[in-house]
Symmetry: C2
Subunit: 373 residues, 2 copies
């Protein structure tokens, strides 16, 4: 797991992530033109996150499409570890997941791993993780997933349906494998050691329920890949098809590191932040600009390391022409960071106002989405 | 866990077990005269397994009695790993548990660890362990536990009620501790590594349900002590009282080793064996006798290593005077192995006939005892 300069595990992202190297290390595949064309056949247009190489890697996405084309549609599976409030980085893969649901008209299983986050964080009780789970669920619902085709569940509330499948997985995984995959040590707690079995379950749940092989496609950030690499190794040995994955890069931090960390209040925008708080955070964000406006005009900025540009690229600027323009104008010094921040800020504020309205409405709709034992 | 000449873990008993040394190794306490007198205060008479030093060790039994005497009665908790049919060795601690339930008029939680046995045995499926579980449950019910005061459950069927408590335990136990306690290695599967958390749960379940500290007393064979040593270490850190334990020695094998192994058909008598099968097994049993009757008459036998004597001592001879007589008559050569085998055989056959009748009746009574999520 440890590379020369960066580390990526489901619980830690450190250093400057080289996404190309990560593909080699993890042994995944790049999403290539051929695959994009296949996806496009089913979609009015490719999602910007595909066009912009943000969802950039996969395992067996092509096989999931083949199954779909042969009349055996895949189920989508994604998740959330409820260790705090939702921030925009969390929304990114969910927005893409909604695109996939809308495009392929398919069922979505949304696992909330309250067990994992309790086990991982000394300071969190099970009440805390449950409370965060229900806060996060409001954000999920606010994005507009199809309630008839979406099942959201907390692990602790659907454990009876999940436990036997988790046991089947756990029986096939040794501690050696867990150590090598996640970097766990002898001082890891036995709950965390077992946990990956639970995260595997939704890959098999629908096959188990329907009594036939149901393909599964998992949109997630690439740090989750190690879990599902294990799942894929185990799948056929316990009688289920391997799940397919489609991986995204990490949403940028406003402070300029690689994965937005929910632990630093200033590095991310929460969905419950007021628009004015969001504006302030953006105004304080790290950019690729020069120290003075004069210098910026002369030398230009570097959008590739700029969190403001990245925010627009990842989520907030749908228009390919406009994002390209901003890139070039930044490069040549025409676009000043202050103006770019204002531009982003308006988009984020507009988003937050609408999202928070939807989030309020979601409070009455939770039961349309939840499944429990 | 490894001593000079013997090994005792919940999954392995090997070598000649020195029960005195085991007390030192595990750090438990001998049941002494003082404790026996305290138990006797509440009981018409001491159970033979107490009088004969078969239930011989404990942790905090005295504290459980103090709580009881102060009006806070303990709950009993014992269990069964359903990896095969029930044999007489399994019944031994259950018979004692029934004595405790009758004496103290207290609730019993009976955990059937179908998850554990599935994880442990490559050859067993979850259907197998469930089927064995329900076979074993017939034997439990046949012993006559009070249905109003007994809850029997399979882990996979009560996991929703157990999972959160298991997580609380698991969070406090590291892999180092598991390695040191059970002798697990890097090649152990992650389900088995986690499992001890599940076995801990019934120690806390009743406190959780009632919202107050409920003492728990666990009658079990001493090989189960390592699980509960961990539980006791964790208990107060997660806000529950430490469970108390009372430990028995291992029921003898008919073939003369220490723990009756369910894997060897000839070394034990199953509750589903026909009386004639049981008789044959007893007739082929290992004894402490001499090679010829003549030699036996001259030198006498050794009841201390004799499985026939041990069977009578542990379960089938209630009468202290008679068991003492048999011991002495064997020692001095008056009692011949063949006669002693016949004597035991009649008792076992009588027991089996009655038990199998009760076991048949139990088939209609399962639901009186079971709890599920």
């Amino acid at each position: 797991m440890t590379g020369n300069d960066f580390v990526v595990t489901p619980w830690e992202v450190r250093g400057d992530v080289d996404y190309g190297k990560l593909i080699e290390k993890f042994g995944t595949k790049r999403i290539d033109e051929k695959l994009l064309l296949r996806i496009k056949k089913h979609s009015k247009e490719l999602h910007p996150m595909l066009r912009r190489d943000i969802f950039y890697s996969h395992r067996g996405f092509d096989r999931a499409l083949t199954e779909y084309e042969n009349g055996n549609p895949f189920v989508l599976y994604t998740g959330r570890g409820p260790s705090g409030h939702t921030h925009l980085g969390h929304l990114m893969p969910w927005i893409f997941t909604k695109y996939l649901q809308d495009t392929f008209k398919t069922k979505l299983l949304f696992q909330i791993t309250d067990d994992e986050k309790f086990l991982l964080n000394e300071r969190l009780s099970l009440d805390d993780t449950r409370d965060f789970a229900y806060e996060n669920i409001l954000d999920i619902i606010a994005l507009g997933f199809d309630p008839k085709n979406t099942e959201i569940f907390l692990d602790t509330e659907l454990i009876k349906s999940q436990y036997k499948l988790a046991l089947k997985v756990a029986k096939k995984i040794t501690f050696s494998t867990i150590k090598a995959t996640f970097g766990f040590s002898d001082s890891s707690n036995i709950g965390m050691i077992f946990f990956t079995s639970i995260q595997s379950v939704p890959c098999f749940l629908e096959s188990e329920r329907r009594g036939k092989d149901v393909p599964v496609l998992i949109p997630c950030a690439i740090d989750q890949d190690p879990h599902f690499r294990l799942t894929r190794d185990v799948a056929e040995r316990i009688g289920y098809p391997k799940p397919s994955l489609v991986h995204c890069k990490f949403f940028p931090s406003l402070q300029g590191s690689d994965k937005m960390s929910a632990s630093s209040q200033e590095s991310c925008i929460y969905t419950v932040d007021s628009p004015s708080t969001a504006r302030k955070k953006i105004m304080n964000a790290f950019t690729g600009g020069q120290e003075t406006i004069k210098e910026q005009r002369e030398k230009g900025g570097n959008p590739d390391v700029c969190s403001v540009y990245q925010y627009l690229l990842y989520i907030f600027e749908d228009d390919d022409r406009k994002i390209k323009e901003q890139y070039e104008q930044c490069r040549c010094g025409e676009l000043i960071c202050g103006d770019h921040k204002k531009y982003l800020s308006e988009k984020v504020e507009t988003f937050l106002v609408r999202h928070q309205e939807n989030r309020e409405k979601a409070k009455d709709r939770i039961e349309e989405y939840m499944v429990r034992d």
